[in-house]
C-alpha cells in the first residue's frame, strides 16, 4: 500500500457536499431574509438579499392580517394531542402483541399491519362524510381522531418490547401488581428511547400535515398553520414578507426539535427501513 497525503476523492467529496448543502440551506435562509423585508423589497424586480433595515414588525402584522394565533394554538393542540395518543396507545397495543398469548393473535396482528397499506387519500372522502355526519367538521375531534393510533408505531413498539425478559413481568405479577401498573412501571421505562423516536416523529409529521386539515376545516379559525398559511398566501399573494414570516413560525419548532435530537431522527428513519 502506498501512502496518500491528500486524497483527491476526499477533496472532491467535501466540495460536492458543500455545494449540495448550500443548495439545501440557502433557500431556507432566503425565506428568513424575505420575512424581514418590506413589501416593496419583496416585490422589487431586482430581488433583495438582505433588507435595508430588518422589519421585525412583519411578525406582528401577520397576526393582525390573519388569525395566526389560532393557527398556532390549533397546530399545537392537534399535533400535541395526536402525539400523546400515540405515546399512550401504540406501546400498549405493541405490548399486548409482544407479551400476551391469546386466540387469533397472529390474525389480528396481520389485520393491523394491513392498515399500513391503506393511505390517507383512500380514507379522505369517507372520513370527510363521517365527520360531516357527526357534525365534527371544523372541530379538534375531526383533526385528531382519525390519527389516534398508527400501525407502524405499534409494530415498532412491539419490536422493542419483545426482548424485555418475561421474568420481569412475572415477578411483578407475583408481587401483585395490576396489569396496567406492570405496563406503566415495568414495560414503559425499558423502552424510553423508542418512545422518544415515536413521539418526535409523530409530532413533526402531524405538525406538517397538510391534506387532512385542508379537507376537514372550512372556517379560517380552525385551520392549522400549514393550511392557514397556504390559504393566506392564496388570498394575499403579493404579501410575500408575511407569508415568509408565517413559514418561519411553522419551520422553527421542527428544526429546533431536530437539532436537539438529531440522533433520534436518524434512528427513526433507519428503523422505518426495518419492515
Amino acid at each position: 500500500m502506498h501512502i496518500r497525503p491528500v486524497s483527491p476523492a476526499r477533496v472532491a467529496g467535501y466540495a460536492l457536499l458543500t455545494v449540495v448543502c448550500a443548495l439545501t440551506v440557502v433557500p431556507l435562509l432566503y425565506m428568513g431574509t424575505l420575512s424581514l423585508q418590506t413589501e416593496a423589497e419583496t416585490l422589487a424586480a431586482d430581488p433583495v438579499l438582505w433588507p435595508e433595515s430588518p422589519q421585525f414588525g412583519n411578525y406582528v402584522e401577520l397576526f393582525e392580517r390573519a388569525p395566526f394565533g389560532n393557527f398556532i394554538v390549533n397546530s399545537l393542540i392537534v399535533a400535541g394531542g395526536i402525539t400523546v395518543a400515540h405515546l399512550v396507545f401504540d406501546p400498549l397495543v405493541g405490548y399486548v402483541f409482544a407479551k400476551f398469548r391469546f386466540p387469533l393473535r397472529n390474525t389480528l396482528f396481520v389485520a393491523l399491519l394491513a392498515t399500513l397499506m391503506i393511505p390517507l387519500f383512500v380514507r379522505m372522502i369517507p372520513l370527510y362524510v363521517m365527520m360531516s355526519n357527526l357534525g365534527w367538521l371544523n372541530s379538534y375531534q375531526a383533526l385528531i381522531v382519525p390519527f389516534l393510533m398508527d400501525a407502524f408505531g405499534i409494530f415498532l413498539m412491539r419490536q422493542f418490547i419483545q426482548p424485555i425478559p418475561d421474568d420481569l413481568i412475572q415477578a411483578a405479577r407475583i408481587d401483585g401488581a395490576s396489569e396496567l401498573r406492570i405496563y406503566a412501571r415495568v414495560i414503559l421505562p425499558q423502552v424510553k428511547p423508542a418512545l422518544a423516536v415515536l413521539g418526535l416523529f409523530t409530532f413533526v409529521f402531524q405538525w406538517n400535515e397538510f391534506l387532512w386539515p385542508l379537507v376537514a376545516t372550512t372556517t379560517e379559525e380552525m385551520r392549522t398553520i400549514p393550511v392557514g398559511l397556504t390559504l393566506f398566501n392564496q388570498e394575499y399573494f403579493t404579501l410575500w414578507h408575511l407569508t415568509a414570516a408565517g413559514s418561519v413560525i411553522l419551520f422553527v419548532p421542527t428544526v429546533l426539535l431536530f437539532l436537539f435530537s438529531q440522533r433520534y431522527f436518524v434512528r427513526g428513519i433507519t428503523l422505518s427501513g426495518l419492515k
Partner: protein, 311 residues
C-alpha cells in the same frame, strides 16, 4: 390456535427448561381477557377509521349523485376509462412518481457514498441535508413558488448573474420543476437510509475485492449495489408510494397547471370530490389508484426478492 389453549404441555413434548413466555403454562382466561381488553380501543379505532372507510370507498364507487347514494353499477369505472382528464392526470402522476423515485435513489445513494468516506463533519452535512425532509410541504411549496417566480423570484436573477439562460420555470417545464423541488425535499431521507445500508457492508469485502484487483467501478457494481438490494428495494417502494400520492406540490405550487400539466392524481381526486362534489366518482378514482399502488408494491417486492443476494 388450539395448541395455545392447552394449559399443560402434552407428555410427548419435552418440557422446555424455562417457559418461553409467562403465559405458556398459564394461558388462563384472565390474561386472555386482559389482552382483549387492552386491544379493545385498537379494534374500535382501526375498524372505524381504516376498515370502515375503505369499505365505504368501495361501496360509494358504485354509486352516483351528490350524496353518492344512487346505485349506478360500474358507471364510475366506465367513466374513468373514457375520461381524458383522468388519463392525463394518471400519466402526469406516473411520470412524477417514476422520476422522483429514480432521482431519490440515484442522488440519495450518490450522496450516501460520498458521506460514507469517513469525512469530518459528516454529522453536520447529514443534518443539513435532512432538514427539508422534516419541513412542511406548505413551506417548501410557498418558498419555491417565490424563488421560481418569473417577476420577483431570485433564481432567474442568480442565473442571469452567472450568465446562464433564465426560464419561466413553472410555465415552460412545470412537471420537471415540481419533480426537482420534490427531490430537493426528500433526498436527505433516502440518503440516511442508504448510509445505514452502506455501513452494514463489511469492510473486508472491499479489501478482498481490491486484493483481487477489482477497480472502484467493479467494487460498486459487484459489491455495493448487490448488497444494498434490501435498502434500494425499501427506498423504491416508499418513493413510489409517496410519489403516486403527492398532493401539496400541485395544490400549493402549480394549482395543477398550466393546462393540467401538473394535475397530480390526488389533486385531481380532491377537486372531483370537494370542488365538483362528486363523491361517487371520486371514490372510484381513489380506489383505482389504491389498486395501482398495491399492484406496484407487490410487483416491486417480487422483483426485489428475486434480485436479493447473499455472500
Amino acid at each position: 390456535m388450539s395448541a395455545a389453549t392447552t394449559t399443560a404441555p402434552s407428555p410427548s413434548e419435552a418440557p422446555p427448561l424455562r417457559p418461553r413466555g409467562p403465559f405458556r403454562r398459564s394461558l388462563n382466561r384472565r390474561y386472555v381477557i386482559t389482552a382483549y381488553l387492552f386491544l379493545l380501543p385498537a379494534f374500535a379505532f382501526f375498524g372505524l377509521m381504516f376498515y370502515l372507510p375503505i369499505g365505504n370507498v368501495i361501496a360509494n364507487s358504485f354509486n352516483t349523485g351528490p350524496q353518492a347514494d344512487v346505485y349506478a353499477g360500474l358507471e364510475n369505472y366506465r367513466r374513468a376509462l373514457d375520461d381524458s382528464a383522468v388519463h392525463n392526470s394518471f400519466t402526469v402522476t406516473v411520470v412524477f412518481g417514476a422520476a422522483t423515485t429514480i432521482g431519490a435513489i440515484v442522488l440519495g445513494l450518490g450522496l450516501a457514498m460520498v458521506l460514507n468516506q469517513r469525512l469530518r463533519g459528516r454529522v453536520v452535512f447529514r443534518a443539513m441535508l435532512l432538514v427539508p425532509y422534516l419541513t412542511s410541504v406548505a413551506i417548501i411549496g410557498l418558498l419555491w413558488r417565490n424563488i421560481l417566480d418569473p417577476q420577483l423570484g431570485i433564481l432567474n436573477r442568480v442565473l442571469s448573474d452567472l450568465g446562464l439562460p433564465t426560464q419561466t420555470w413553472l410555465n415552460t417545464h412545470p412537471l420537471a420543476t415540481i419533480i426537482a423541488v420534490t427531490l430537493w425535499m426528500n433526498v436527505g431521507y433516502t440518503m440516511v437510509l442508504f448510509l445505514a445500508g452502506l455501513q452494514g457492508i463489511p469492510e473486508e469485502f472491499y479489501e478482498a475485492a481490491t486484493v483481487d484487483g477489482a477497480g472502484p467501478w467493479q467494487r460498486f457494481w459487484r459489491i455495493t449495489l448487490p448488497l444494498l438490494t434490501p435498502t434500494t428495494l425499501f427506498v423504491s417502494v416508499m418513493a413510489v408510494i409517496s410519489g403516486l400520492q403527492a398532493f401539496g406540490q400541485a395544490y400549493i405550487i402549480t394549482g395543477g397547471g398550466p393546462a393540467d400539466r401538473t394535475d397530480l392524481y390526488i389533486f385531481h381526486v380532491f377537486n372531483v370530490a370537494f370542488t365538483s362534489r362528486d363523491f361517487g366518482y371520486a371514490s372510484a378514482l381513489s380506489f383505482l389508484l389504491f389498486l395501482v399502488i398495491v399492484l406496484f408494491t407487490v410487483v416491486q417486492l417480487r422483483l426485489g426478492r428475486r434480485g436479493e443476494v447473499q455472500y
